[in-house]
């Protein structure tokens, strides 16, 4: 303990040592994003050690998957990352399709891009708003939810659900878009675009926000790779990996013909495709501010992708195609596929013995790996930085515990 304090350059100024205290943050705590429990070893306000305890939301999702057919398990994937259920559906659907060597119709492909990118926006909006809450400001949260509400209305129209969609399914989609939906979606995008500037004013460039996030919880690219961090957390550290571009061909084929730049800092700057504020002077690559900023950039990027996919989808002639039968027989063998979900790379593994019910199902959660690095980031920080770090990792307990 004292060794840690001695070694850490950041905390040298706190030379008054008091008795250590062991504090439980959570599982019932306002800022632990659900039921995460953090055990903090504190010396006054300084956190010398932090350990996350998980498992409070464990629902045996994988075991359930071994008792249901592939399509029947889709609603259970909704409940993993419940903020990005479309992306979860897509991950499992693509994995099973990989096992089946099945390819969906062109129309379904563009619809999948459209709907998952919309869900990415919704997920990042929650991430952004909840991050504001973690830092003690309420209004951005409601500003984010105001826009997310409109997205949920759109989702409700396509599948009837506002949170657990089960819309994308093995072999296609459960239904086509209702008439007039594309116009409403475009209207939303036009209305949403200027709102992003509001978010930048309220959070990204806010002096206190920068003070609270810049140079806090710095995650080096090496450490990020060592811990298996993915998604915005990895890209916030400056590692240029995005499965939508670098993933397996069955996944990247979905994005064939789409133009987008990965939101990551390259050669000291972010892709300048849109107007956005400059990086503050205090911010260091890999700190909380950059993780947050990458999410904000991805919102813009997803908007672009949605616009492109609306064009392509409306140009597609022919039917959407029916999804596979509920009890479609899976060929014996196994398949593993990772997709780029809003929180990071979500992997699904399926082993089949030739029956409709998989023999083994396994999910690789991105938030789990992202959370695993938090003890490193929180060592030697102040208590107030713990929510700032956890919030910047944007974890969802449903995905970690499954």
């Amino acid at each position: 303990m004292s060794q840690i304090l001695d070694e850490d350059q950041r905390i040298i100024e706190f030379d008054v040592r008091t008795d250590e205290m062991l504090v439980n943050m959570g599982p019932q705590h306002p800022s632990t994003h659900g039921v995460l429990r953090l055990v903090l070893r504190t010396d006054g306000e300084i956190v010398s050690e932090m350990e996350p305890h998980i498992g409070y939301l464990h629902r045996c999702a994988e075991k359930i998957g071994e008792n249901l057919t592939a399509r029947q398990w889709i609603p259970y994937t909704d409940r993993m990352d419940y903020l990005a259920a479309m992306n979860m559906n897509l991950g499992w659907a693509l994995t099973v399709e990989k096992l089946l060597r099945y390819q969906v119709s062109e129309k379904a492909r563009h619809l999948r891009v459209l709907i998952t990118e919309l869900n990415r926006i919704a997920s990042h909006l929650v991430g952004m708003g909840a991050y504001g809450l973690d830092l003690g400001t309420f209004s951005p949260f409601l500003y984010a939810f105001r826009e997310r509400e409109k997205l949920l209305d759109l989702f409700e129209e396509v599948c009837g659900a506002r949170l657990t969609y089960s819309y994308i399914t093995v072999g296609g989609m459960t239904a086509d878009l209702p008439p007039g939906w594309l116009q409403r979606c475009e209207a939303f995008l036009d209305q949403f675009e200027p709102v992003i500037r509001e978010y930048h004013t309220l959070l990204t460039t806010n002096a206190i926000f920068v003070k609270r996030t810049a140079n806090i919880g710095v995650l080096s690219p090496e450490m990020a790779i060592d811990y298996g961090c993915t998604g915005p957390v990895l890209r916030g550290s400056g590692v240029d990996i995005d499965l939508r571009r670098d993933g397996e061909s069955i996944y990247t084929a979905m994005y064939d013909g789409y133009a987008f730049e990965v939101a990551v800092m390259k050669n000291g700057h972010y892709p300048r495709d849109h107007e956005y504020p400059a990086v503050p002077r205090d911010a260091v690559l890999g700190d909380c501010w950059h993780r947050f900023f990458v999410r904000m950039l991805e919102v813009v990027q997803s908007m672009d992708l949605v616009r492109q996919s609306i064009d392509r989808y409306s140009q597609c002639k022919g039917p959407l195609g029916e999804p596979l039968k509920l009890a479609e027989k899976l060929p014996a063998g196994d398949a593993y596929l990772e997709t780029e979900c809003p929180k990071g790379q979500m992997g699904f593994y399926v082993v089949s013995d030739g029956t409709p019910i998989p023999w083994r199902v396994r999910a690789r959660s991105s938030a789990f790996s992202n959370l695993a690095v938090s003890p490193e980031l929180c060592r030697g920080c102040l208590i107030a930085d713990v929510p700032a770090v956890i919030g910047s990792l944007d974890v969802v307990m449903g995905e970690i515990d499954r």
Partner: protein, 406 residues
């Protein structure tokens, strides 16, 4: 008032003083309780509007104006919980300590000329000192709750309030220096006349120091972005984590009372107190400023003035709270020690020099003339028991400093 009871009605001296004290206490209590009800409702409406919501709309018919009363009844009906390991006595008295401090400070706060619980010739000192006692309630609550989160909140509050008392004191001294008195009534009366007489416009230094005062006041009443003691995203609810029901609401009342108090203090010290920006009554020939023989109706209008100014201060506090993220504890201390204190000290010296070399202000005459008018009634009211009998009070502040330094 007490003299009136003694001389005209003939009540015993002790009884008349007690009766007047009771009446004053009752009125002030109603100002705080009623103010808290209004401010809690206002906070909900303002927060809602800032966040693109409606806020309470139904309770009480329209605008949800009875919402805080309904909340109060709910709090009354709640079970009074105390943690097992809590120090029962301290846990119980802590909210009252907080509330009493906030309440006591109101005693010396004038709402208009001579509309004051007890006029003190060290009013400024009394208000700031007593308001500082509020922290004891918070520390007691944190210590007695037997909860680690409460303890964290209490320690933060202790560190923060003790630090911010320093720049706050420095800011408060400036109007005292300008008015040449620590009596809040005198300070307010010195700013009668046009808005240019307000101390905030006295010179550039006072203009800056007003904002320093406001920042420190925010910190000393624990409002965002300095609400570390109850930082809900870090400390659950800080020092009042374990409180519920009526005890909890006493902390709340103390908070809103203090908010109003520091805003009213800002109004009296810098924003002309109960004097409007335009001396309407004087222009109409109704009275010579808000002088001693001013009719009671005018004093009531003065109260309205002060309440409005204080309400604006409270509104800005709410606006800040619903806009800005919270600072970290080290950043709060840095703000105090690296910015507020040095700025306040520098401005203090600046005001002193200004008083020595430019006593009349940049536009010669404007301040001086008004001061002349005020001196007239100050001398006139010198015979009154309640008025500051300082022999130097008739002299302009600058000359007074010169005299003292000689």
């Amino acid at each position: 008032m007490a003299e009136f009871l003694i001389e005209t009605i003939g009540l015993p001296v002790w009884l008349s003083w007690t009766a007047i004290a009771g009446l004053s206490a009752f009125l002030i209590l109603n100002v705080i309780a009623g103010g808290a009800l209004v401010f809690i409702w206002a906070e909900r409406k303002i927060a809602a509007r800032i966040q693109d919501r409606l806020g309470p709309t139904r309770t009480g018919g329209r605008f949800g104006w009875l919402q805080s009363l309904a909340d109060g009844i709910k709090l009354l009906a709640k079970e009074d919980l105390m943690p097992d390991g809590a120090d029962a006595l301290l846990f119980r008295i802590a909210p009252y300590v907080s509330f009493c401090a906030s309440f006591c400070a109101f005693i010396a706060l004038p709402f208009a000329f001579d509309v004051v619980g007890q006029r003190l010739n060290v009013g400024v000192f009394f208000v700031v000192a007593v308001l500082g006692l509020e922290v004891f309630g918070v520390i007691l609550a944190g210590y007695a709750s037997a909860s680690k989160w409460s303890l964290f909140g209490a320690m933060r509050e202790a560190a923060q309030v003790v630090s911010y008392e320093v720049p706050l004191g420095m800011c408060v001294v400036v109007p005292v220096m300008l008015a040449g008195s620590m009596d809040l009534v005198t300070i307010g009366e010195k700013q009668a006349g046009w808005a240019s007489n307000w101390f905030i416009f006295h010179d550039p230094f006072t203009f800056i120091i007003f904002w320093v005062y406001y920042t420190c006041a925010l910190a000393s009443v624990n409002r965002a972005p300095f609400d570390l003691a109850e930082a809900e995203s870090e400390l659950v609810a800080g020092f009042h984590t374990e409180y519920s029901g009526l005890r909890w609401s006493f902390f709340f009342m103390a908070e809103y009372g203090s908010m109003f108090l520091v805003s009213a203090l800002a109004a009296i010290l810098f924003l002309g107190g109960w004097n409007g920006p335009v001396p309407v009554s004087k222009l109409l020939g109704l009275s010579d400023g808000m002088a001693v023989n001013a009719p009671y109706a005018l004093r009531l209008l003065g109260c309205v003035n002060l309440f409005l100014k204080a309400a604006v201060g409270v509104f800005v506090m709410m606006w800040i709270r619903w806009t800005l993220p919270r600072l970290r504890i080290d950043q709060v201390m840095t703000t105090c020690l690296k910015y507020c204190t040095p700025i306040a000290a520098a401005m203090f010296v600046g005001v002193m020099l200004w008083q020595l070399f430019l006593p009349g202000g940049l536009v010669p005459g404007s301040f001086q003339n008004a001061a002349g008018v005020r001196e007239g009634w100050l001398e006139q009211s010198g015979s009154e028991e309640s008025v500051n009998k300082d022999s130097l009070s008739g002299i302009t502040p600058s000359r007074r400093i010169a005299e003292v330094s000689r």
